[in-house]
């Protein structure tokens, strides 16, 4: 190769220096994931937003922009359903948090000999299909189920309780199915804390309770937050549990969406409902984040 060609290549290289090969490589490998994101997340969201604001005036005619679907969806009937879902999600997350924290605390900081066995038991449900987990609850909650039989034997009740197809069944199963999702991040955040920090706290005059309040709890806050959202966000749109154990009588966000898109196809109404509930979810998440910040400040004193 002659010197002039080399010189030209060198010049070309400096000219195109803004194309960094290394970055190109990274981009290349990220491409499948990016494609997936775009195709199955951004495109559908864009489609739903579009569907919610357009209307077909007459067959064969052009679509026109309209707020009509939002007017229809913002009526007490649908808002009530959204409120019910929000309440279910909030209660489930709070309930899970209350029970998960002591369990995670025990596993991370107290358990010694049985720790690994207990962890295994805790994560066993993850290896079981979600649907099968829900079906298993039928046998526990039904009229002649395990729970009723035990309660009858013990003598706490004289007649079998009607739990199936009531909101209580939904709450019970939601709580148990989502509990591991809360325990796991709290456990991880507690496990990560350097034990020397507890000693430092005692050393500086703190009692165990003060150490918990000022060191352990604030340092596990990230886990609590993660766990809360891991439970709150999916439970808000939960479809399977209310549909199977609620008897289909009470509507939740998930069931209403299925109604709009599958049972009585009304894509426009379904889309506007999706957008509104998405907006509600975002507002709720922001609000909860602020609540956590406030709680953190309270713990710091």
């Amino acid at each position: 190769m002659s010197a002039s060609v080399l010189k030209f290549l060198e010049k070309a290289r400096t000219y195109f220096a803004f194309i960094e090969l290394r970055k190109m490589g990274t981009f290349f490998f990220a491409l499948p994931a990016i494609m997936w994101q775009v195709l199955f997340l951004y495109v559908p969201i864009a489609a739903i937003i579009t569907m919610s604001v357009i209307n077909k005036v007459a067959p064969g005619a052009w679509y026109s922009l309209t707020w009509q679907h939002y007017h229809e969806i913002l009526n007490p009937l649908f808002l009530n359903i959204m409120w019910r879902s929000l309440l279910l999600a909030l209660c489930t997350s709070m309930l899970c948090m209350t029970f998960a924290y002591p369990v995670a605390y025990f596993l991370a900081l107290r358990a010694t000999t049985w720790k690994n066995t207990l962890l295994l038991l805790l994560f066993l449900p993850f290896w079981t299909n979600f649907l099968i987990q829900v079906y298993a609850w039928f046998f526990i909650l039904e009229r002649n189920g395990f729970l009723n039989r035990v309660l009858l034997k013990v003598g706490l009740i004289t007649e079998p309780l009607q739990i199936m197809n009531t909101p209580s069944a939904i709450y019970i199963v939601m709580f148990f199915c989502y509990l591991p999702f809360m325990i796991m991040p709290i456990y991880t955040s507690l496990e990560k804390i350097n034990r020397r920090l507890f000693e430092a706290s005692y050393d500086l005059g703190a009692t165990p309770w003060q150490t918990f309040k000022r060191v352990i709890f604030p340092l596990s806050m990230s886990g609590v937050k993660t766990g809360f959202f891991l439970v709150f966000i999916p439970t808000f749109g939960e479809y399977v549990i209310p549909a199977m154990l609620g008897g289909g009588k009470t509507f939740y966000v998930g069931s209403l969406l299925s109604y709009f898109f599958i049972d009585s196809p009304n894509m426009h109404l379904g889309s506007s409902f999706t957008v509104v509930s998405g907006f509600v979810l975002i507002v709720a998440v922001v609000f909860i984040t602020i609540m956590f910040k406030w709680l953190m400040r309270l713990a710091r004193g």
Binding site: L197, E199, Y202, D203, L204, G205, A206, R214, R300
Partner: protein, 363 residues
């Protein structure tokens, strides 16, 4: 201010005895160093004094007060941890203020105290910095400030310089000595580094691998008059040679098989010396004179061959093989740019030392 007294303290870990029947008195207002190899139980002693561990038997006193069963948070003792154990979720101010908030000190007083303490440690610029934004040296000072603000009777320091680089260490050591002399708090400093211990301590204890205290004394006593070969070789370097003892009127002679007879000055305490008994003599490498030409005026003399030379800057270290195949180490100060005689590998050299520089050891 109060001192610390340990009385016949024993501690087991998983059934294994770490320290047994250990008694130790640390005087009030003293800078005391615990020096020993890893696994010698020096950190265990520190953790027992702090209260992180409880004794299996024995008592611990802070001044006249028995603190054996006092909970950690009620002991007027604070610790500077090896990796500082600063609270990562709190900034510098909140870390230092921690103990004051626990004690419900009024807000304005906390602020005054914290700022005053941070100024002593030249940290006033970093008040609202997060811990992870600080350098190792700065973190170390925050750890000190956090412990000192609580005005402890005793301050425990667990290898506080382990995470710092070499240049910083010497400076921090000097600062620690100054801090201790202004506060007059009892400092207990745990380290495996003899240089640190010798630099800071008023008195020091040398611990061996079995968790026993071999010797307690001032750095000078420990270095110049070690009582065992363990102390002689753990603190500084030492040539320890075994022989049998011959006692004369005002001199001791050590007969080394296959080598020679060496003279040693008689120690003050001489009741343990047994005529004809086995004995060890210790000679510090820097107290041996090395020369290619014969010299005058030394009590002890031997000839050897140079086998290794290590240049260390301010001194040169030689390893010399003696006629009985024993190796002996010699340090020579590098006093001149162009020394008159250059010693090289395989050179025949004369080694000389005074009888006053020989320490006789029982074990």
């Amino acid at each position: 201010m109060s001192g610390i007294r340990l009385e016949r303290v024993s501690k087991r870990y998983h059934g294994e005895l770490v320290i047994e029947n250990l008694s130790l008195t640390i005087k009030s207002g003293e800078f005391f160093a615990l020096l020993g190899p890893s696994g010698s139980g020096k950190t265990t002693i520190l953790r027992l004094i702090a209260g992180f561990e409880s004794v299996d038997s024995g008592r611990i006193f802070l001044g006249d007060q028995d603190i054996t069963h006092t909970p950690i948070n009620e002991r007027r003792i604070n610790t500077v941890f090896q990796n500082y154990a600063l609270f990562p979720h709190l900034n510098v101010f909140d870390n230092v203020a921690y103990s004051q908030r626990i004690r419900n000190v009024p807000k304005n007083i906390i602020e005054q105290k914290v700022i005053k303490t941070l100024k002593t440690f030249h940290l006033e610029k970093y008040i609202y910095k997060a811990i992870h934004q600080l350098s190792g040296g700065q973190q170390q000072r925050v750890a000190l400030a956090r412990a000192i603000i609580n005005e402890p009777e005793v301050l425990l320091l667990d290898e506080p310089l382990a995470a710092l680089d070499m240049n910083l260490r010497e400076r921090v050591l000097v600062e620690l000595v100054e801090l201790q002399s202004t506060l007059k708090t009892t400092f207990i400093y745990v380290t495996h580094d003899q240089f640190e211990a010798l630099t800071v301590a008023d008195r020091m204890a040398i611990m061996n691998e079995n968790g026993e205290i071999e010797q307690i004394g001032t750095p000078k006593e420990i270095y110049e008059f070690p009582i065992s070969s363990f102390v002689a070789s753990f603190v500084g370097t030492s040539n320890v040679i075994q022989g049998s003892l011959e006692l004369a009127a005002n001199v001791a002679r050590v007969v080394v098989q296959g080598l020679d007879v060496f003279e040693a000055a008689l120690p003050k305490q001489r009741d343990w010396l047994v005529q004809g008994g086995k004995i060890l003599m210790s000679i510090r490498p820097e107290k041996i004179e090395i020369s290619k030409k014969p010299l005058e005026g030394f009590a002890n003399h031997i000839i050897g061959t140079v086998k290794a030379i290590v240049y260390n800057g301010r001194s040169t270290s030689y390893r010399v093989r003696l006629p009985n195949d024993m190796m002996i180490q010699v340090f020579e100060q590098n006093e001149e740019h162009f020394p008159q005689e250059v010693i090289d590998y395989e050179d025949q050299v004369h080694l000389y030392w005074q009888k006053e520089n020989v320490i006789l050891l029982e074990k």
